[in-house]
């Protein structure tokens, strides 16, 4: 049946961050190795050229040359060691994670249907991954670690990534922009590519704090150094910031009161989170939320909220999930599907639905027939208690 066939495209929609995060990590490792190589080898090259040149100009003192070559040897040995460290502590493990994750995704591509026991295990793991992602985003790190350990999925989740976010967000909560600014500088080009202005917002906030503390001279110097470079795109804000120095922190004058407002820090934390997620190809909402939105909307029917038609197996009928489903749209159907309330199965094929003549309650014909057989031809409506002869039931088409 085609409904049971795996929708690989639908599944893969959720897996982009899963695959990309280790890839981006590896690129960071590569950039780091490149920096080290350029630094050390650049110096070695300069030194080598220097002693070669001096050798031509004056009679060389061997001692100086030996010292220079020693220096070069040390640098090259350092570089070797640094690269080896980088490889063993970050490079190889990241490649390993990439391989494990790519293969994990590959395995679901070879499965055929949702009834496959393999798929059940894969789906279990996926829900675990989503729960880790949700827990980390909501500050429940112990839970996240516990799930990862207990289910053996440490390499399939990105706990470290979120501890970075946590560290920087905590610093911002303590009203310190320093960590966030370091992160911005580490990711300068990526942020510029998406035209993200987080760095300016952070600098502006530091400026505001200087103004708040009355350190006007420092504020002006700070503005010259850190705000002015953004003048092409942010001139109005820079002008407004300059004017801020005329107003004390408890001003009631509208635009300046807003600049002094402490809730700006919360907005900064949000902006930082979103910038981080954006760069890591993480969605702004937890994957669990997205899956639940779609799942609940697919199931949600007015019948779920009607106490008369509650079904204990329906997730949306459950009061807790039903509360969450209030936020999602109803499902849309153009075809009828009749589910017998006695058996819980779909009425189709030769099994005709039959209605009680007075109450209009409909059930599967086969069930009512069984009931009649066991009860000398009388059937009783489970809902209303109405009893009548089997022959009095009306057939639906």
């Amino acid at each position: 049946m085609s409904v049971n066939k795996l929708n690989t495209e639908g599944i893969m929609l959720f897996e982009q961050p899963f695959a990309r995060v280790p890839y981006e990590n590896y690129r960071k490792v590569f950039r780091s190795s490149q920096k080290n190589i350029e630094k050390e080898l650049g110096a070695v090259q300069t030194a080598a050229n220097a002693i070669a040149k001096r050798a031509k100009l004056e009679s060389r003192d061997a001692e100086d040359a030996i010292e220079a070559v020693d220096g070069m040897i040390t640098r090259v040995e350092n570089l070797k060691r640094k690269l080896a460290d980088l490889q063993s502590s970050s490079g190889s493990p990241t490649l390993g994670v990439m391989r494990e994750r790519f293969q994990h995704l590959m395995s679901v591509e070879t499965m055929q249907t949702t009834k496959d026991p393999e798929f059940a295990r894969w789906a279990d793991t996926r829900l675990d991954r989503w729960l880790v992602d949700w827990s980390l985003r909501n500050g429940k790190e112990k839970t996240a670690k516990m799930i990862a350990d207990d289910r053996g999925i440490e390499r399939l989740v990105d706990i470290d990534l979120f501890s970075d976010i946590r560290r920087i967000a905590d610093a911002l909560k303590q009203r310190s922009c320093a960590e966030a600014l370091v992160w911005c500088s580490d990711n300068k080009s990526a942020l510029r590519k998406v035209k993200n202005t987080l760095e300016f917002d952070l600098r502006l906030q530091e400026y505001i704090e200087l103004a708040r503390a009355g350190k006007n001279i420092d504020a002006i110097a700070y503005s010259k150094k850190y705000l002015l470079p953004w003048q092409e795109t942010h001139l109005p804000q820079i002008r407004q910031a300059s004017a801020l120095l005329c107003f004390p922190p408890n001003t009631t004058c509208s635009p300046y009161k807003r600049l002094y407002d402490l809730s700006r820090w919360n907005t900064l934390i949000q902006s930082f989170r979103l910038a981080f997620y954006n760069l890591s190809t993480l969605p702004s909402e937890p994957l669990l939320h997205l899956a639940m939105y779609a799942g609940l909307a697919s199931l949600k029917l007015p019948a779920c909220y009607d106490p008369q038609t509650k079904n204990v197996d329906c997730p949306v009928c459950d009061p807790t999930l039903g509360k969450l489903a209030e936020e999602v749209p109803f499902s849309h159907h153009v075809n009828s599907t009749i589910v017998c309330r006695i058996t819980g199965r779909i009425i189709d094929g030769d099994n005709m639905p039959m209605a009680f003549p007075n109450s209009g309650q409909v059930y599967s014909g086969e069930e009512l027939e069984d009931m009649a057989k066991k009860n000398v031809g009388i059937v009783k409506d489970p809902k209303t208690g109405e009893a009548c002869e089997f022959s009095m039931l009306r057939r639906l088409f």
Partner: protein, 387 residues
Amino acid sequence: MEGPLKELGRLEKLVSDSSWKGKTPSINDSLDSLLHSLREVKDRLQVGTATDETLTILSKTVETRKKEIDDRQKEVYNALAKMGKALDKKFHTPLPTYSPLFFSPEANAALERTIALHFLRTGQFNTAETFIEESSVDIDDDTRRQFKKLHEIVTALREQDIGPALQWAERNREFLHNRSSPLEFLLHRSRYLRFLTSNDARGQYAAIAYAQDHFPPFYGQHESEIRQLMGCLLYMPIWRLIASPYANLASPSLHLDLEPMFAKEYCASLGMSRQVPLRVVGDIGGGGALARIEKGRKVMRERKSEWSHSEELPIEIPLPPENRYHSIFACPVSKEQSTDQNPPMMMGCGHVITKDSLQKLSKPGGRVKCPYCPVESQLSSALRVHF
């Protein structure tokens, strides 16, 4: 995932330390070679056999090795870029952005409760404890105990001990009988078969004794099965059974199936759903529903038509039978779903359409002609049906 995996393989080879014959030597090899040259020059300087030319050659050597390393880094960079492209190709649709979901305190509390119950239901008790501590959710002791007990019984079953499960089944005999569930008998069947198929020489005698002790009460309901089970005695040892007409009784799935069956009955007796709700919702959402919704949204955007978020999805999401929990009636005439205000009505001929459609089709005098058959009936005699 073949594309990305292939690129990954190439990358792994490039950065490994082994002297794989790539286009360029490995960085480690280049550095070693450079060290060798440097040490040689140092020796010569110390012994006094170095000349101006030695130093010139050294400077050139450094340049050569540096270029080698740069070239190698370029190869790695290219391999990374290729992998990026392979990933872009594979994951061409980004995840959609939604404004914050389940944000309100009530929704958040409901979600936390759902998650806590999920951990309990799936037997992850330590995680549940940790989570309950870290959040503000409160699960009453009764519920926790019920889940713990379920977990204990299922674990016992997994270890081939049907004792606890049997106890529960005996206590809840009437409940199981009302649901026509063969659980109790199947538990005995499992034990019998284990005796029979064990490597123990006395297994067959134990099996017979067990059958004599426990099968008789079930003879009324399960006569043919008991006969089959006893018939297995003729096909011992087990390899003969597998080749016999009773091969299916040798399958291990007979025993494995008891776990979910027990869980289903246990949860039903407590008024809980038979499937794990978070899994059901997650599987539907992550199994293509979100992709379809996004496609639907995209089409609406292209057509520049408005879609109010809070009403109905713009497209139908197909659901497998096990996820059909309610009847859906879509009027064959108007294609709209029936509601309380617009309920399904059965006409005299037995065909059903919604009330609105019925009224639209009515003629003066209160008569209605069915769109599917030539029968006419009275508007007033139409029966409102409840699915």
